[in-house]
């Protein structure tokens, strides 16, 4: 019996070396960037495509200095899972906007310094 994989499904694999991982990461990054306008149109976001692409870049930069190859593999898998969920319209607006809390939600921020935190009465 033939099992048809869902759209954008990818076969699970591990990276053979750091070069292989680098190529996979860049490929994944390009896919995300190219999907920027489609995400904006699909979820009717009021966010410009450039902001979406900046957010994608931010998320990739967050893990720039990971030192273990297996962790990179895991991150690639998670990134592709998110990609598939987003482009298959399996997510809802709230799931996509989770990434944009810093820009959209004024209460989602850390204080700039000790005094500001103290005056706000934060933990």
């Amino acid at each position: 019996m033939v099992i048809n994989p869902t759209y954008l499904a990818q076969r699970t694999r591990t990276s053979a070396s750091w070069n292989d991982a680098k190529r996979r990461v860049l490929k994944s990054y390009r896919e995300w960037l190219r999907a920027g306008p489609e995400i904006q149109q699909m979820y009717s976001l009021n966010i410009p495509v450039s902001a979406i692409r900046t957010k994608i870049r931010q998320e990739f930069e967050r893990h720039r200095y990971v030192s273990q190859l297996q962790v990179v593999d895991m991150l690639l898998f998670q990134s592709h899972a998110e990609f598939q969920e987003t482009l298959n319209y399996w997510k809802q607006l709230s799931h996509v906007l989770k990434y944009f809390r810093a820009e959209e939600d004024p209460t989602a921020r850390l204080p700039r310094n000790f005094m500001q935190g103290f005056l706000e009465g934060r933990n």
Partner: protein
């Protein structure tokens, strides 16, 4: 078959140096074909180099500096530039260090992979052995190690205006993890990037006593005369 033999005969005289050099034997009559098509690893030269990447580099601004060996040591100052994630709120504490996978060692940086909110890396965790129940003399509860989250200063608990029940902004309130040994608990806290401290258990002091020691002979005058 015969054609092949003929061509190989003629080729052998012309291409002997190339055969010894290890190149592919080019078919006779296609000498001017470029190397590019037969070379499998030849890709077009990249139009940009990594040094031209748009990310800011160390020389660009005085705000960006390379971390020296002294700065790499764990600092106890809160990191106000930690990134904001889906769980950050006005009750979130400021983390001291957020795990980013670049830590040395073989331990899995689970904080990077788990998707847990970054608030958890800001909060302190206490590893202790729960005390024996004071009302009973059995100590079946005092053998494992427990990990507990310290309460938040603000947002720990308030009275809900609707009914008067207790509301909380603390996701880990009332949560604890049990471990078989102290080392397991410490490794877990390190793996998840938690700030932790270990509270050593109070060991009960027990003095072995024997009634017969009351009547042991002591030379000289007795300080305490035990008549009863």
């Amino acid at each position: 078959m015969s054609l092949l033999r003929l061509s190989s005969h003629s080729c052998r005289r012309l291409f002997r140096p190339e055969i010894t050099a290890g190149y592919n034997i080019r078919p006779f009559g296609r000498r001017h074909e470029s190397q590019a098509r037969t070379d499998p690893s030849n890709e077009p030269a990249p139009k940009s180099s990594p040094s031209e990447a748009p990310a800011a580099k160390a020389g660009d601004s005085s705000l960006i500096t390379q971390e020296g060996p002294l700065e790499g040591v764990a600092s106890h100052k809160p990191d106000y530039n930690a990134h904001v994630d889906h769980g950050t709120s006005s009750f979130s504490p400021v983390p001291k260090r957020v795990m980013d996978g670049s830590e040395p060692g073989e331990a899995v940086p689970a904080a990077v992979l788990s998707g847990a909110p970054l608030d958890l890396q800001a909060r302190t965790v206490r590893i202790y052995r729960p005390a024996k129940t004071a009302t009973q003399s059995g100590d079946w509860h005092g053998h494992h190690w427990r990990m507990d989250w310290d309460v938040l200063g603000k947002g720990h608990r308030w009275e809900n205006p609707l009914i008067g029940w207790q509301s909380s902004a603390d996701a880990m309130q009332g949560t604890h993890l049990n471990f078989k040994s102290k080392e397991d608990a410490i490794l877990f806290a390190q793996k998840q990037g938690y700030e932790y401290f270990v509270q050593e258990p109070n060991v009960r002091k027990f003095v072995p006593k024997a009634y017969a020691n009351n009547f042991v002979h002591t030379p000289g005058k007795l300080k305490v005369v035990r008549t009863k």
